[in-house]
């Protein structure tokens, strides 16, 4: 196993008692799953966009994560711009029995936040994307 993957995996475990929640932003792609880096998490949020290659990658990630017996496995549908996109993600996820935890719309606030070098949360707390991410937080708080 690559040292970096091993280190992330080990740290997630070692530092569990340090805080109420750890949130790890994983490396893009599937490598960390194949190497078992993500094995030690309780919840995995698979972020997908409404185009086929993203959905397909999400499905492959979901399958691999299932094999690792990750307890709470969810898809966050992200950046849809219309109802057709939103429905396409819903249909795809239903087909592969992948539960969606939140539907996060495309949100120009995020781009403006970056341009202004601000966190999305500090830029506009009322932004539609922030409200949608709130749903994920609500789920976590009650589990």
């Amino acid at each position: 196993m690559c040292a970096s993957h091993r280190a992330v995996r080990g740290l997630i475990v070692e530092l569990t008692g340090y805080c109420k929640h750890t949130i790890t932003d994983m490396e893009a792609g599937l490598e960390h799953l194949k190497r078992g880096t993500a094995k030690n998490v309780d919840m995995m949020i698979i972020v997908v966009e409404p185009y086929y290659r993203s959905l397909e990658a999400g499905m492959r990630t979901f399958k691999l994560a299932k094999e690792l017996n990750i307890k709470h496995l969810y898809v966050a549908s992200n950046k849809f711009t219309n109802e057709a996109d939103e429905n396409a993600i819903k249909e795809f996820c239903e087909k592969y029995t992948m539960p969606i935890i939140s539907n996060i719309p495309y949100d120009s606030n995020l781009i403006e936040a970056e341009r202004n070098e601000k966190a999305p949360y500090d830029y506009n707390i009322e932004a539609p994307s922030i409200k949608a991410i709130n749903k994920i937080a609500d789920w976590i708080s009650t589990h």
């Binding site: 280190a7 995996r9 070692e14 805080c19 790890t24 949020i45 997908v48 937080a137």
Partner: protein, 113 residues
């Protein structure tokens, strides 16, 4: 709970991870954010300034060592104390969030063995 965000590059996982951390921290939860991505942008989405983000010390992979326990089983052990880890590599974000950032092989500190 130990939570991970995954996805293809550009899918928005960093934005979601950072914002989720802020929301949960605001609810008075102690949050540790770990940036495991070779393009560490989590600091910025947490609300840590670029200047401060540029000064973050990446955690070397040697922080976790494979050791044999009393039964000869290989186990991963942290090579420094939790306090030392946060003192050396931790960064404070808004709402008392702690951030640590993993270094990566592209830094030349580790191979892919």
């Amino acid at each position: 709970m130990r939570i991970a965000t995954v996805g293809k590059g550009g899918a928005g996982k960093t934005t979601i991870a950072g914002t989720l951390a802020r929301i949960l921290a605001k609810k008075e939860n102690k949050i540790l954010a770990i940036d495991g991505d070779p393009n560490p942008n989590l600091a910025l989405t947490l609300g840590i300034s670029r200047e401060k983000a540029n000064n973050i010390n990446f955690i070397p992979h040697t922080v976790m060592k494979l050791e044999e326990d009393d039964y000869g089983e290989k186990v991963l052990k942290m090579s420094l104390s939790e306090n030392d880890l946060f003192e050396k590599y931790g960064t404070k974000g808004p709402d008392n969030i702690d951030l640590i950032v993993m270094g990566h092989p592209a830094d030349g500190t580790a191979g892919s063995g």
